[in-house]
């Protein structure tokens, strides 16, 4: 057992990386504009109120690093921002500390936390912070008439140019089906049949030669700005920030959007567990969640945070509430990511997706 531990720690170079000092915690998130919003709204206020330091690290999602650290018994990450499906899988596999949601602070009007958070945002091991969306954005300078539907993304004749897509099966298959005319409410019913999956891959086939695949969230705005693609699947916050702070001529299309939750988890065996717990408690209180939304349009998961959402931090004329994935317009033909479907079928579909990519 000891040898195994030794070896695992050798295998994961991350685990060997310098561990943070005792009075600081390492918070890991997705980088770019999103991490910036968290640093401004959570890290800085928490650090100044407790005197502890926060080290911010970036990753590109998934449980692999957490798993390597926990199995090697050398945990250096204290708080990680993960997708809902990863929070559930990680909890089932015993990789995460349990978080008692009754200790979370109540809303200002006294509503207990367990009723204030939206469905799915609280579970045994995780506390939600935002609702974010996967959707597509386009370069306004490339088209005379703006695209409006998911079908337009797959229409290379009407809207010529390269497409950016994320190099995973998740959400790309749903979008292919919606682009093929499946209403958002029926997407997962269709995906649960073998014919539905074939149909999604057949639709992806029609644009395969024009796709540039991206992996990190910071890439799609860059691909658009460089003119490498004319449209790209992206996360709504990143594109909004490229438009609002850099003045890029990009447009967003909410039709066919897929929204999902991000949650904070604490890897099992974190050496700063108490401080990490305190950080999660602090960050997911009503006000910090609302503050974060003024840096990037990801919706807070607490009902009590919604009325407190203000304007964009550098432009008071931009009401952030209008750019959230949860507005009525955005939800008209949108769907919540089905984490159960992906927990069950993700591996098989990714295998097929990779085989399809390599052909």
């Amino acid at each position: 057992m000891k040898i195994k531990v030794l070896i695992l720690s050798a295998v994961s170079s991350i685990a060997l990386a310098a561990s943070a000092a005792a009075d600081s915690i390492t918070v890991v998130s997705w980088g770019g504009a999103y991490t910036k919003s968290q640093v401004e709204a959570y890290h800085k206020p928490w650090a100044s109120s407790t005197g502890n330091a926060v080290v911010s690290e970036d990753y590109s999602g998934g449980l692999a690093e957490v798993r390597a650290q926990v199995e090697a018994g050398s945990v250096t990450w204290d708080v990680v921002d993960v997708e809902l499906s990863d929070a559930i899988v990680g909890c089932d596999e015993g990789l995460l500390e349990e978080i008692d949601s009754s200790m979370l602070p109540a809303a200002p009007d006294g509503t207990p936390a367990t009723e204030d958070f939206m469905d799915g945002a609280l579970n045994e091991c995780a506390v939600g912070n935002i609702v974010w969306s996967t959707l597509y954005a386009y370069d306004k300078t490339k088209f005379d008439t703006a695209p409006t539907t998911m079908a337009d993304f797959f229409d290379l004749e009407k809207f010529p140019g390269k497409r950016g897509m994320r190099k995973v099966a998740k959400n790309m298959l749903e979008m292919a089906l919606m682009g093929d005319g499946v209403p958002s409410s029926e997407v997962y019913d269709v995906m649960n049949t073998p014919e539905g999956i074939d149909r999604a891959f057949a639709k992806l086939d029609t644009i395969k030669d024009s796709v540039v695949w991206w992996e990190a969230g910071a890439q799609p705005p860059q691909l658009l700005a460089d003119g490498e693609v004319s449209m790209t699947i992206t996360w709504n916050g990143r594109i909004f920030n490229a438009i609002a702070s850099e003045g890029q001529p990009f447009g967003l299309v909410w039709d066919g959007q897929i929204y999902d939750l991000d949650l904070f988890v604490i890897p099992k065996g974190s050496p700063n567990k108490d401080a990490a717990m305190d950080f999660v408690k602090f960050a997911t209180a009503t006000k910090p969640l609302a503050d974060q939304a003024s840096w990037i349009p990801y919706g807070p998961v607490r009902a009590s945070s919604i009325p407190l959402i203000g304007t964009f931090h550098s432009d008071a004329s931009l009401q952030m509430i209008d750019h959230m994935p949860t507005t009525a317009e955005a939800l008209k033909n949108g769907v919540q990511n089905d984490y159960m479907f992906w927990a069950d079928n993700g591996e098989e579909l990714n295998e097929r997706f990779n085989a399809w990519l390599a052909k």
């Binding site: 040898i3 195994k4 030794l6 070896i7 050798a10 295998v11 998934g62 449980l63 692999a64 690093e65 798993r67 559930i88 899988v89 990680g90 909890c91 089932d92 596999e93 015993g94 891959f201 540039v212 695949w213 460089d226 003119g227 490498e228 159960m340 927990a343 069950d344 079928n345 591996e347 098989e348 990714n350 295998e351 097929r352 990779n354 085989a355 399809w356 990519l357 390599a358």
Partner: protein
């Protein structure tokens, strides 16, 4: 040397034993001092040996063993494992098996290991992950008869396929991952079959990896041979200066050189801009030189070129120019002198450079990951994918094992055809 001849002299006179001044037979004394010097030599290399053993050989062996050994199910489903291993795969599962399953689900829920079991079984039979996790959540409330109550909780438990998948995963030493690394499926009845067409990927990747490595070796030879010849035949002062030009990129970080190639090859990059300026391409229709096989080949050839040039150069340096002159003086044409006299003497360098580049290329990883796109990725990128993304370490280990065997096999062929002794690094 002196000691060895001394030993022989004792052999010759074995009838009257030679005694040293302190009364010990010379032979014994000699053996002792030899042993001590060996011990000292061993002591000097021991730190390196231990480092290699513990940081390299043992971890690799342990990791490779994951490719044929995975005891997730056996370790966490202690009640069910003995029952299911004696089950015949076709009859209805018994009430005892259901009871054991419920017991294990309960324990798994408590220890939080059920997710691991679920992931493991889900890899055999997709769509079963939530069956385990949701049933584990309900397991506490289930009552006897367990068969009925479990099937009532989720009717998938009535499906024999689920039980066959559990039986397969309950066997810890399994060829299933190796089979999967070769696009095969290992069935519950012990047979193998090929995976359905749309899920075959690994064989194709192994072939592509071999193909790319081979092309890189040939391209490196084609480009490197003249350079090495030039370096070897120029006066030392000039050739040392030129050698710096070969060594400079060799000393530059791999990552820096790869990113430099991105700047060179991309759609809006230097090469494409030049092509547009010179009218080779139009602004709308630029060459796709990156994020595909072309990009991988160009940059890998460049990155590995020094590994071809340096062995060639050091071998060519030792070939006396007088041989070729002699051949010519006896009437050989330039080509004959080169092909019959010079070239055969450079073969050890070609062998060394070729095998060095090939073995480095076959495991290349960062460059194809950054600029390989879809059709320029190699097998190592998929090993990485299973290590870091799907967390299927057993499959990654199996694929790594196959790659290792492949390299050893090619090395063996090389030894048979060219002869490994016939290789010179200088």
């Amino acid at each position: 040397m002196g000691l060895a001849s001394g030993m022989e002299s004792t052999k010759d006179n074995h009838n009257n034993v030679v005694i040293t001044s302190d009364g010990i037979p010379l032979k014994k004394k000699l053996a002792k001092s030899l042993f001590q010097s060996r011990l000292r030599a061993f002591g000097l290399v021991a730190p390196l040996l231990l480092l290699i053993l513990f940081a390299f050989v043992i971890p690799i062996l342990i990791f490779l063993s994951r490719g044929v050994y995975n005891n997730t199910f056996e370790r966490h489903m202690i009640n069910l494992t003995p029952l299911i291993s004696s089950w015949d795969s076709n009859s209805e599962p018994t009430e005892a098996m259901f009871e054991a399953l419920v017991l294990d689900l309960k324990a798994g829920k408590k220890s939080k290991k059920i997710g691991k079991v679920a992931t493991r079984v889900n890899r055999e039979l997709s769509g079963t992950r939530s069956l385990f996790t949701s049933s584990a959540r309900k397991a506490k409330k289930l009552k006897a008869p367990f068969k009925d109550s479990l099937i009532k909780a989720n009717k998938k438990w009535d499906n024999l396929e689920v039980w066959r998948a559990m039986k397969l995963t309950s066997i810890s030493v399994t060829p299933a991952f190796l089979a999967s690394a070769l696009d095969m499926k290992y069935n519950a009845d012990g047979t193998f079959e090929r995976k359905p067409e749309e899920r075959r990927i690994h064989l194709q990747l192994f072939l592509r990896t071999l193909e790319i490595s081979l092309i890189v070796v040939l391209a490196g030879l084609f480009l490197g041979y003249p350079i090495a010849y030039l370096l070897a035949s120029l006066p030392v002062r000039t050739s040392n200066l030129l050698l710096i030009l070969v060594l400079l990129p060799f000393w530059t970080s791999l990552l820096v050189r790869t990113t430099a190639w991105i700047a060179m090859l991309q759609g809006q990059g230097v090469l494409n801009d030049l092509s547009v300026v010179f009218g080779l391409a139009t602004d709308e229709d630029r060459f796709s030189l990156i994020y595909n096989k072309t990009g991988t080949l160009i940059s890998m050839t460049h990155i590995l070129l020094p590994f071809m040039i340096l062995p060639l150069y050091s071998v060519m340096k030792t070939i006396p120019p007088s041989y070729v002159r002699a051949a010519k003086s006896m009437g050989a044409t330039n080509w004959t002198a080169f092909w019959r006299i010079y070239f055969p003497q450079t073969i050890p360098g070609i062998g060394a450079g070729g095998i060095l580049v090939f073995i480095l290329a076959i495991s290349f990883y960062i460059t194809p990951a950054l600029i390989g796109g879809q059709d320029g990725t190699m097998i190592s990128n998929f090993i990485d994918f299973h290590m870091r993304k799907t967390l299927n370490w057993s499959l990654a280990a199996a694929m790594g094992g196959v790659l290792l065997v492949l390299v050893l096999f090619l090395y063996w062929i090389y030894d048979r055809v060219v002869g490994i002794d016939n290789m010179k690094l200088g």
